[in-house]
Subunit: 720 residues, 2 copies
């Protein structure tokens, strides 16, 4: 649908829409309770696309009718049938009055139960964890799926609100149009109201005055002549709206002198781009005609090479990787590496203190749902041809389950690199040239948080390494300006960013993605070791003056594991099992190998920094606690920062030889440049979890080299 | 050849070998002067292997008889015919007395000449730069290829020696066996002298006592029962030998109590590994049946997508990338990015001050030749199936040219990632899902410096990014120890590393690889800008307390561009052309995006640190000077550190709006772990050169998406 038609529709049938919304969200859904397949929620227009299946029929191999799904593993997500049962309990709890479900997911069984469970055992009781709102109050419920037993948790001491729903957002988008002030202001700018689209942005939290009301700040764009309306901001108008009542609370209206940036050159769609194509006429493809080397058992258990792990979609985290185990090449035994890992929270502060921009300090997982915003992948272009796809089952705002198709892809990757190699020097007279290809397994999803796209990869290597990578792409959110050339900007004036095009400033911002990594190296109880590297003087005992010495310190408590990285005071950071040693006596371990480091420069007492205080350090280690999963807090929306990783860690609990959780934050400073306009080339960074004396020796010593005769036989495409 | 036979041969025909060596190196080669193809030097046993061609006939596509090569570009390397002419001049200069050629390469024409030159123009005069030794003296010669005119440069003020030759190394390997002391000591350790191989290691420089003599320190291993003799050190014996005379100067003999580590489990060759293969039965391959999208014109000019650059092998640097230009999508014009880039020096200090280890502070480019040690690549396993190969022509110690086959591979890479992508949120009602595959071009070589292998990639992306990556693999050099378990190590004892296996310590060390990057962004004259990010307070003018502000400072002189990276005091580092701006007024530029940072912790006055003082900072910018190419000094072997990047930069020349050179150092701290035994899984890191306001907008906006019908049609291999 073109933006113009969409807006016209929104505007003219506004009251009809409101009626519809109430019908859809607030009265019982005629489909719920049945076992019918609900392809998409009523509001997830995208996933009704027939494009997917038509373009690439082979990707459908993992698809089936999810209505018959049954859980096979204690960590399997709730099925459609289970969600339907839970929905009935929710409705009954709210006595059929108005409510909204903000999260409906499996409540994990206790870790001890999951660890003890083996295939063939009966599943532990299935429970749902529900975040809901009704009559202006947050609810946190645990519901037993079979018995329907419901337990309500006290949330009175928690500030903030649950993440917004897609329905919240869609509903509030129309709110500004009911305001005469807004319509007048748009008209004064010479913009046709029919071309205007307003998007809801989380308001952060900046003081008590904002408490008690679930607010959103809408920013508007003209969709005229481009699908990339983000490049056409109507600068300076912020419509503060109540998410529960849809009432406009305040309109900030400042930027009337700022022109709307032009549409020309902003549309990035293939259909809109007429510039010459970069010539790469000969396709290059990752081919695997015999099929993949992995299997996905029971929908979620991925087995590849020496790895085995449980993979599932999660509306808040995107994906959750659980029970990651690797087979020891010497003993054949599967050994525990990580109990669970996922992206716990994001923090995207923009660096502009002006009225229409200061609040932009997004926490994308806790405010929007990193998984809820992860849409269907584009086969061939988001993932290679040999990828297989996995769907998600999420709950709509009334609790009705729907299928988010192709949300995750899983594929083997060969990028032309070697896993290891050596050529012996000819001077030794020994003719040796041995190299082995590096093949890995990637699990990927892409979250599109309004303008930005985050590609998150969990990449498993046969040598035991787990590489966790985040790539940023999509569209940089921009600010309108009256400037068309930098020579108009006064010497001392700060435009808070880069002039990307005429009337467009790309505002400086950061991205932080915090990962929860519940390492269980060969068992639950682990320790965190700071392997410190420091200059040591020889004091005349050697022709060398100095060398670098290793000093290992085991962190006793959580505060000792609040780590700020320092280039000139470096350490390695090991999670070891002090109870298990290799044959020569090294404790078995995994290390976190930092990369993509950027540190938040905000004042520690600045409200956004307090809320996302997980960026106060790059590495943290906490005592395992089932309730401490979301580093920005459980109810992150408008939170004050009282339920964060910093707060938990400051309890300073003992962490030596205990069940511990490692937290790592990837960071990016982004000073936009013209190349980021009108859509941004991918920038990525990742960190590693890497075995360190975990194996007795190189675990991929025995990997097979490529031999010509075993590789696929390919010819050019028929159409070429 | 098995190690045992090789040593027996060496020992028994020792005098015969000596005679042969003199024959080969010091009397005129009957082949030289002819235009015959010399496949390999007499000492490069490896490259005679027929394995290469047999295993993968298609890789031979770029091969041909190099004897007929003629230069086409001012930067083309010397051809066989040219080298033969130069060799004659050298012989004549030394009046047929004993000499050795340590480097024989093109002397680049002046930069102005190269920049002015266009295809079709006559080539500027071809000159050779020669480093040679005769009668204990260093020679630095410039020889005009056509006229034979020779110019001798004064080297009397330069400490150090030219890099060792393969012939130096092979010759000196036999020296210890002539020593009765050595034979006795080996016998006392119960090692059969026939199993012993000694390898030459550069001695570093630790004081005036070492001056005036070209020394090498030999370390010995037993080759019994393993091809991986590095894992069987005869610890504590160091044979200090004179490289010019082959005379044993001193034998350090200390480690008699240390057992020789066992052979079992050390051999990594496919033929020796019997453990179960990790099961990946279904091959995955990078397939491009229509052929590549790049061409290599005139042997060296690579054209791919929007990139064009000159690529050649270099005995010291490995590869040199020159005249890198990218086509502007708006104007179609090829724009200069980099005049020349290459790995200038390496520094690998081991962190053990004991007598047999303190000197291990290798400078692999200046001491050994990063390119000389780059051997033939293993098709399919070092590079993907779609790679094309490029040969090198190097000079043997007598000046005779030889062909190093398959030294470089060039291939397009598709690793399953997106160049950019965006999905529009369903709440907007706009159905958009656009993604484009990321395809890049890689030029790769692998240098095997005795035990270690360095994989160096220059990766060009269509969005203008150049990613320079170094991967470390091969074999960690180890130290013998009497310990078989860490519980035997006393509380306060430092073993300078990790016990990797019984009687084996992996010694802590660093790797630094310094890159010379002569950026010429849209012209010769550029400036270096520190784009500093710092906390700014709003002082009550905003609900936000703080934000991150950008402050740009142009470096006036070299000292202002000596950069130590700081996580909490971050900057971007731009090389801009202050004379050229985008339409909206930003100066065009490229930025260096650091990664893989490790800083040297050695004392700045420690001799190895002074010699490799390029590691004193991560980033440097110097005024372009044709003679400042090698950051550790031209004659790096046993140098004192008087001719280094630090010295040049300390001249503090003006660099604003001048022809400038950027230097970047990748660093790795390596605390070995058991997984590195007996051969090390690849570890890599890289940094980027990235356009920043170089283009008016995203230059890959118009790249085409993958369409199923255009991809190759593949089936499983016939043999599968």
């Amino acid at each position: 649908m073109e933006g113009k038609n969409f807006l016209r529709c929104l505007f003219f049938i506004f009251s009809a829409v409101l009626l519809m919304l109430f019908t859809i969200f607030n009265i019982p859904n005629p489909l719920s309770g049945t076992a019918e397949l609900i392809e998409c929620s009523t509001n997830s227009a995208w996933c009704t696309s027939k494009n997917r299946i038509l373009r690439h029929p082979t990707t459908a191999s993992l698809h089936h009718d999810h209505t018959a799904d049954v859980p096979h593993h204690p960590l399997d997500p709730l099925t459609i049938q289970e969600m339907n049962k839970v929905q009935k309990v929710i409705k009954s709890f709210f006595e059929n009055s108005v409510y909204s479900v903000h999260s409906l997911v499996l409540e994990d069984p206790d870790k001890e139960v999951v660890v003890e469970w083996e295939k063939g055992d009966p599943l532990p009781p299935r429970k749902a964890s529900v975040m809901a709102r009704a009559a202006g109050k947050n609810y946190l419920l645990t519901i037993d799926v079979e018995s329907g037993e419901l337990r309500e948790h006290d949330t009175s001491n928690i500030t903030g609100f649950p993440l917004v729903t897609l329905e919240d957002m869609q509903k509030v988008m129309s709110a500004p149009f009911a305001s005469a002030h807004f319509n007048r202001s748009i008209a004064e700018r010479g913009v046709d109201i029919n071309d205007v689209a307003c998007l809801p942005f989380s308001p952060g939290w900046f003081g008590k005055a904002e408490d008690g009301r679930r607010l959103v700040k809408l920013e508007c764009f003209t969709t005229k002549d481009t699908a990339n309306f983000y490049m056409r901001p109507i600068e300076g108008i912020i419509i503060v709206t109540d998410l529960d009542t849809n009432e406009v609370v305040e309109i900030v209206d400042k930027g009337k002198h700022i022109p709307i940036p032009k549409a020309a050159g902003t549309d990035y769609r293939l259909s809109a781009v007429n510039t010459p194509i970069i010539k790469l006429p000969n396709p290059i493809s990752m081919e695997q005609p015999n099929g993949p080397n992995f299997v996905i058992e029971d929908e979620h258990l991925v087995k590849w090479a020496n790895w085995e792990f449980h993979l599932k979609a999660d509306p808040r985290a995107g994906v959750m990787v659980s029970r990651a185990k690797i087979r020891d090449p010497d003993t054949g035994v599967l050994r525990n590496v990580m109990y669970q890992g996922f992206s716990s929270e994001l923090f995207v502060p923009y660096m502009d203190p002006e009225e229409a921009w200061y609040f932009k300090t997004y926490m994308d997982a806790g405010e929007y749902g990193f998984g809820l915003q992860a849409l269907a992948l584009d086969p061939l272009n988001d993932c290679p041809r040999n990828a297989k796809y996995m769907d998600a089952i999420f709950a709509a705002a009334d609790g009705t389950p729907y299928v988010r198709s192709n949300m995750i892809c899983v594929f083997e990757r060969y990028a032309g690199d070697a896993a290891w190699r050596h050529t012996e020097s000819p001077i030794t007279g020994t003719e040796i040239r041995e190299a082995r290809p590096k093949i890995s397994l990637v699990a990927r999803f892409v979250a599109s948080l309004a303008n930005y796209d985050y590609v998150v990869d969990w990449e498993f290597h046969a040598d035991g390494l787990i590489h966790i990578k985040v790539a940023l792409t999509g569209i940089v959110i921009v600010k309108g300006t009256s400037y068309v050339n930098t020579n108009q900007v006064k010497e001392d004036e700060d435009i808070y960013g880069t002039l990307l095009s005429e009337n467009i400033v790309g505002v400086v911002h950061d991205h932080y993605i915090n990962f929860y990594l519940d390492m269980d190296v060969d068992g639950l109880d682990n320790s965190f070791v700071n392997v410190h590297l420091q200059r040591e003087y020889t004091n005349g005992k050697s022709p060398r003056r100095s060398y670098m010495k290793v000093n290992k310190t085991v962190a006793k408590t959580e505060k000792e594991a609040q780590i700020k990285l320092k280039l000139y005071d470096p350490s390695e950071f090991h999670v070891i099992n002090p109870n298990k040693r290799t044959k020569v006596g090294n404790p078995v371990g995994y290390k976190v190998v930092p990369a993509g480091t950027a540190a938040s420069l905000l004042d520690p007492e600045d409200p956004p920094q307090k809320r996302s205080s997980f960026t106060n350090n790059q590495i943290w280690v906490t005592r395992y606690n089932k309730s401490e999963l979301w580093s920005g807090g459980l109810f992150a929306y408008q939170s004050h920062g009282e339920d964060t990783l910093q707060v938990w860690s400051d309890r300073d609990r003992p962490i030596e030889n205990k069940d511990i959780v490692l937290w790592y934050t990837l960071g990016f400073h982004h000073v936009p440049c013209q190349e980021d306009y009108p859509i941004m080339p991918t920038v990525s960074s990742g960190f590693d979890l890497k075995p360190v004396n975990f194996f007795e020796r190189n675990p991929v010593l025995s990997i097979a080299p490529y031999v010509e005769s075993e590789l696929p036989v390919c010819k050019a495409a028929a159409s070429a």
